[in-house]
Amino acid sequence: MAHLLGASSLKKRRAGEEGEEIEAAAAMAAEEEDRISELPEDLRLRILTLLPLRSAIRTGALSTRWRALWERRWPAPSSMDLHIRPGDDPEELLRSLERRGERRIDRFSLTIHPNKRPLQHHRVRDPQRFLDYAAACAVEDLHIDAAGHFVSMLSTSVDINELLWACPRLQTLDLRYCDVLGFQGVINLESSGAHLRSLTVAECNRITRLDASRATGLRSFCLSSAQLPTYNIPATASLDDLYLSLRGQNCEPIKHWIQALPNLANLTVLTICSVALRLPSSSHDIFVDNSLEEAEEDEPNEVLFKVDNPDEELSEDDAPDEEGDEPDEELSDGYEAEEELLLEEISEEYMLKERLYYEDVYEENLSEENVPEDEQFEEDVQSEEDVPEDNQSGEDFPLYGLNNLVFAKLMNFKGHYFEMRLVSFLLRRATSLQKLLLVPPPVGVGNYMEAFGEKPLDASGFLDTVLNFEKASPDAEIILSDSDPAAIQPMHSVVF
């Protein structure tokens, strides 16, 4: 080494006299020495790491000193996508990870595929070791998809919180179908703080609380659960993307299971599934509403979700943000009125009937929202505020801005009471609406209606009603569609 460096510095001086300004590209040609092959192997690997794979592979043909060296390079933005399938030996995988060493990993994805024959356990005895490895490599994007098999395969020793403390650089956390994670169902993301950009917790039904109160940089938030976990995300987080699907029954009295969401002025995609439109005075909290819609908005709007206590209904309001400095007050005013209104409007009998429907709704597929990708969208879900039959108190509510809503789509549309109210609201408020797409549930899914002595869904019946609704936008086209037009691609392509 010493010899090498000394020799080269002499040569360097000679080159320097000829002119420091010479471009490296020009100077390199005249040299006779093979400096690059003389470099220590780790430096050559470092260089190969910076090359695209194709260029790196080509170096294998340079000389015998380069043969297969590229195979040991570690790609700079390293990504590891591990799949454990039935029959795989996790120990073997772990050994290969050990051989790799604790070099930095940007993205670590662990997918544990379900075993079709559950009696033959392919046991991943210690999944924590995989996650610890990812943490040791300072992972930025962590994805865990256990396909719902965490319960059977994994012991409760998986401590996601401990893991998160070990991942200070974490930017993305994506947990899917992981049942046992975190202490007492609480995931604490305090440690990740401002680095955290994207948080997805889907169908992790043991999780009761998600605390990301310091994740001020959060841009994407997806929470999907059959339960009703509480969450805490900072009010200053400026979300681009929000997906909420909370459809379970909340057995425990949780004070506020949905908090006011943060600033949604930058929101471009919003999907809400099966949220709200609750029936008050029922013994369980029932959340129905398979309605989803999207809007194109040029002006930033604010969508707020707020529930004062679990015995009141959930309301989702879209308040014009620019002048609304105190949306909370505005909302709560509207709220009480809404509650009263709802109690008045719904008879006991009606509720019972609806409830049967809704409980079945849970079993169905979730709604999904489709939005053209080239447009900016904001969705507004409005519940309980407007009653099509009589608008006795409609004037008392603040007019929420739906002026930019161009396209709305409601999936699994069955024409029931609350859905019709939602449609009515949209039609009356959305002054620029061009298309309202109502997609009925697929044939065969609606069998529950027959089971309860109801006739199968008669689409034409509610379509007539819908067509008679007052329309703020005279050009609005109402389409009842069985199929999903190919032109409308889902923005949230994955639906939990």
């Binding site: 080494m1 010493a2 090498l4 460096l5 000394g6 080269s8 510095s9 040569k11 360097k12 001086r13 080159a15 320097g16 420091e20 300004e21 010479i22 471009e23 490296a24 590209a25 100077a27 390199m28 040609a29 040299e31 006779e32 020495e33 093979d34 400096r35 690059i36 092959s37 470099l39 220590p40 430096l43 470092r46 260089i47 190969l48 790491t49 910076l50 090359l51 695209p52 794979l53 194709r54 260029s55 592979i57 080509r58 170096t59 294998g60 043909a61 340079l62 000389s63 015998t64 380069w66 043969r67 700079a76 933005p77 070099r103 930095r104 940007d106 490599c137 300072a138 930025e140 650089r169």
Partner: protein, 186 residues
């Protein structure tokens, strides 16, 4: 220009080395002295940081027998520029440790810094950075070298770096067949 500045500082060093405790004096293999800010040296070089912490810094010039004067000049120059261009706090907080910090594209001044180097000077600097444990400088110099290899055929790379092809025809053909797709021209 940068080189001149480096030389000037080296001469300064002889006069003020004993008095100025904020700097470290480094001595090249051929006996030239260079002065570099103690803070920048400790921050950018794990080896110098260790020496400073361990008290093995010689006020009369810490011997770096493995590094020639021109390479050391570039190292010192890089440290000085780095100290001027990047707030140290941001740099420190952004890298948990050198081994796990993500590779960041060289900045404009860093590109210029390595672009002006001759072929040999570049490799001298890589080796010096490696010896001194200067991860960032290694990133920048290795990036430069990788740029010189990128998109080139093996023949072109051999030409640029004077690599002697010691494969037999059969071996070479075997390698090309193994991963033929990588050898197709775009």
């Amino acid at each position: 220009m940068e080189v001149d500045k480096g030389k000037g500082e080296a001469e300064e060093t002889r006069k003020v080395a004993e008095a100025d405790r904020d700097t470290v004096t480094l001595k090249s293999s051929d006996g030239k002295l260079f002065e570099v800010s103690k803070e920048a040296a400790a921050r950018l070089s794990t080896v110098l940081a260790g020496m400073i912490a361990g008290g093995s810094i010689d006020d009369n010039g810490t011997d770096l027998k493995q590094i020639g004067s021109e390479a050391l000049e570039n190292v010192v120059d890089y440290c000085n520029k780095h100290a001027n261009s990047i707030p140290s706090a941001a740099l420190i907080s952004s890298s948990i440790s050198f081994n796990t910090a993500p590779f960041k594209e060289p900045e404009e001044w860093e590109r210029k810094f390595v672009d002006r180097l001759s072929h040999d000077a570049l490799f001298d600097l890589v080796e010096a950075a490696n010896f001194l444990g200067m991860e960032r400088l290694l990133d920048v110099t290795c990036h430069k070298i990788s740029e010189m290899m990128k998109g080139k055929s093996p023949d072109q790379i051999r030409e640029v770096f004077n690599i002697k092809n010691d494969y037999t025809k059969e071996e070479l053909e075997e390698i090309r067949q193994e991963l033929a797709w990588a050898f197709y021209d775009d």
